[in-house]
Structures are given as structure tokens and as C-alpha cells.
């Protein structure tokens, strides 16, 4: 059972309080009418599915209810960073390098 930090509650809780919602930083296009079919399909379905350091969405569904983002190493299951929704995507390579030390 993973230990997840909620940046809104400022507390670590067990994974069962949370729901993982897949890859982070995939924004719904602002004007869908201007998006090609292919790009819409990419938006809907295509994910990087990284083996390694990955930014993903979590929701503190049985807590404060907020969505937030986490950087997780999908190999070791280690969380490397938690940040609030709306904050810019961190430099994953830099985080990976830092963690690899």
C-alpha cells in the first residue's frame, strides 16, 4: 500500500484514500472545433505509459476531494514530487537525475 502525500491536506495518507487518474498535464483543447480528428484521438487515448519517471494525476477522493499531480518512478514505485493541480509540469529528467544519485 503506497503512501501518498496530499498537497492540499498537507498530510501523508494510505493509497486507499486516493484514486489514480492516469497521466498528468493532458489538457482538454480550449477550442475542440479547431482540433483535427487525429489530435482529438491523441487527446482521448494516447498516453506515454513511461517505464520510469512519470507525472500522473491523483485525486484525494476519500479526503479533501482535490485533484493533484505526483511524479512517480513506475519501476520502484517511489514518489519523487507532489504538486497542486494547475502548477507547471516539473522537469522530469532533472527529477530522475536527482533521484538516481
Amino acid at each position: 500500500m503506497l503512501l501518498v502525500y496530499c498537497p492540499y491536506c498537507d498530510v501523508e495518507r494510505a493509497e486507499t484514500e486516493f484514486a489514480c487518474r492516469g497521466e498528468a498535464h493532458i489538457a482538454r483543447p480550449a477550442d475542440p472545433t479547431q482540433v483535427s480528428d487525429e489530435d482529438w484521438v491523441n487527446y482521448l487515448y494516447m498516453r506515454t505509459n513511461t517505464k520510469g519517471v512519470y507525472a500522473e494525476r491523483w485525486r484525494h477522493i476519500h479526503g479533501c476531494g482535490r485533484f493533484f499531480n505526483a511524479v512517480r518512478d513506475t519501476v520502484s514505485d517511489r514518489f519523487l514530487k507532489f504538486y497542486k493541480a494547475g502548477e507547471t509540469m516539473p522537469d522530469l529528467e532533472a527529477i530522475a537525475k536527482e533521484a538516481g544519485k
Binding site: 500500500m1 492540499y8 491536506c9 498537507d10 498530510v11 495518507r13 494510505a14 486507499t16 484514500e17 476519500h62 479526503g63 479533501c64 476531494g65 482535490r66
Partner: protein, 191 residues
């Protein structure tokens, strides 16, 4: 046995028999109260608190209380406001009036939940049989309030005293929550 009064709002329902009454832990049904869900941005909080009668806390997982009022932090834009059952309309109208055109959402959820008061030297132990949060006083001091999971049911947990907790769940989950608490609590009588 510690003080069974959770506080001046969540009090044992005198008309209901205790679900569990043992030397080291008791489980009592609480009286109905007015519960309002308040949602709004930071700019609305001051007026909301003033109209309600106690400030809405901004520190995560905390509560603020005044006589017959309690405001519980549920999330960064969500609070549960508690008041006596009969004050529903008065409180609702006061807040709506106090906020005027300031965007917010106030919804009556008084009937959505039921509460039990779990109290006694073994209250912490009993809750930890189904809740994975560290409930030691250092990690979960008096006044802490949080939503979490009790076994397989979502609950709200509020510590109102060193040995006293309010456990609230949506009505249809309460048979499960209180049933398990009682079943496991009976183990203490055997030990």
C-alpha cells in the same frame, strides 16, 4: 470513562440505547444536527464566518468552534458547518443574506449523514482496527477533522477530545460502520 459529550453540538441521543457501553470504550448515537456544506473561494470566507457565527478555518484538517457552532475544514474550498437541528433555516438564511452576491454554494446536507460518538481509553485502538491513519495525539490532535475510509466505507472522523471521536458516515453506510465498531469493540470485553 471519559466525558461522553463530544461537544455542545454532537451529543448522545438520549432516546437511543448505547450501541456499546464498556469500561474502556463506548459507542453512542448522536442527536441530529443541522449540517450545511459550504463551498466558496477565499474571498467569501470572512463574510460566511461572520454570518454563521464562527470563522471558517483555513488550516487543513482543522476545526473552529463557538457555542452551538462548529466549522470543519473538509477541503480547500469546502467546509461542513454544524448548528443545532432547529436552527437550520435561520443559519441557512443568515449565511445567504450575509454573502449577498458573493459567489458560493450552500447546501443542506443535514439528513445525509449519521454520527456516532466513540469514546474511552480504547477509542483510538478501536478506530484503528478499520482506519489506517496514525491517531496518536501528536499526529492527530484534538480538533483534527478528516474524511477517510473505515474498512470499506467512507467516513468523516473528528477528534473532539483526547479520548473522544465523532465518526460520521452517509446514512446508508452507518449500519456497516457502527456494526463493525460494535463487533470489534466487544473483543475488548473478552481481553
Amino acid at each position: 470513562m471519559s466525558d461522553l459529550l463530544a461537544n455542545d453540538l454532537i451529543t448522545p441521543d438520549a432516546g437511543e440505547a448505547p450501541l456499546l457501553a464498556q469500561a474502556d470504550v463506548s459507542i453512542l448515537k448522536a442527536v441530529p444536527v443541522t449540517r450545511l456544506s459550504y463551498r466558496g473561494r477565499e474571498g467569501s470566507l470572512k463574510a460566511a464566518g461572520k454570518a454563521f457565527g464562527v470563522a471558517l478555518p483555513v488550516q487543513p484538517l482543522s476545526n473552529s468552534t463557538a457555542p452551538k457552532r462548529a466549522a470543519l475544514w473538509m477541503g480547500p474550498d469546502e467546509w461542513t458547518l454544524l448548528a443545532p437541528e432547529e436552527e437550520l433555516n435561520a443559519v441557512f438564511e443568515a449565511i445567504e443574506k450575509g454573502l449577498g452576491d458573493t459567489p458560493h454554494a450552500l447546501v443542506d446536507v443535514s439528513h445525509r449523514s449519521l454520527a456516532v460518538i466513540v469514546s474511552g481509553a480504547k477509542a483510538e485502538w478501536l478506530l484503528n482496527t478499520g482506519i489506517f491513519i496514525d491517531l496518536s495525539l501528536e499526529a492527530f490532535p484534538v480538533g483534527t477533522v478528516t474524511r477517510t475510509i473505515f474498512h470499506k466505507a467512507p467516513v468523516m472522523l473528528w477528534r473532539t477530545g483526547p479520548d473522544t471521536f465523532v465518526v460520521e458516515s452517509w446514512v446508508s453506510f452507518m449500519d456497516y460502520v457502527s456494526g463493525l465498531l460494535v463487533q470489534v469493540g466487544q473483543e475488548l470485553a473478552a481481553a
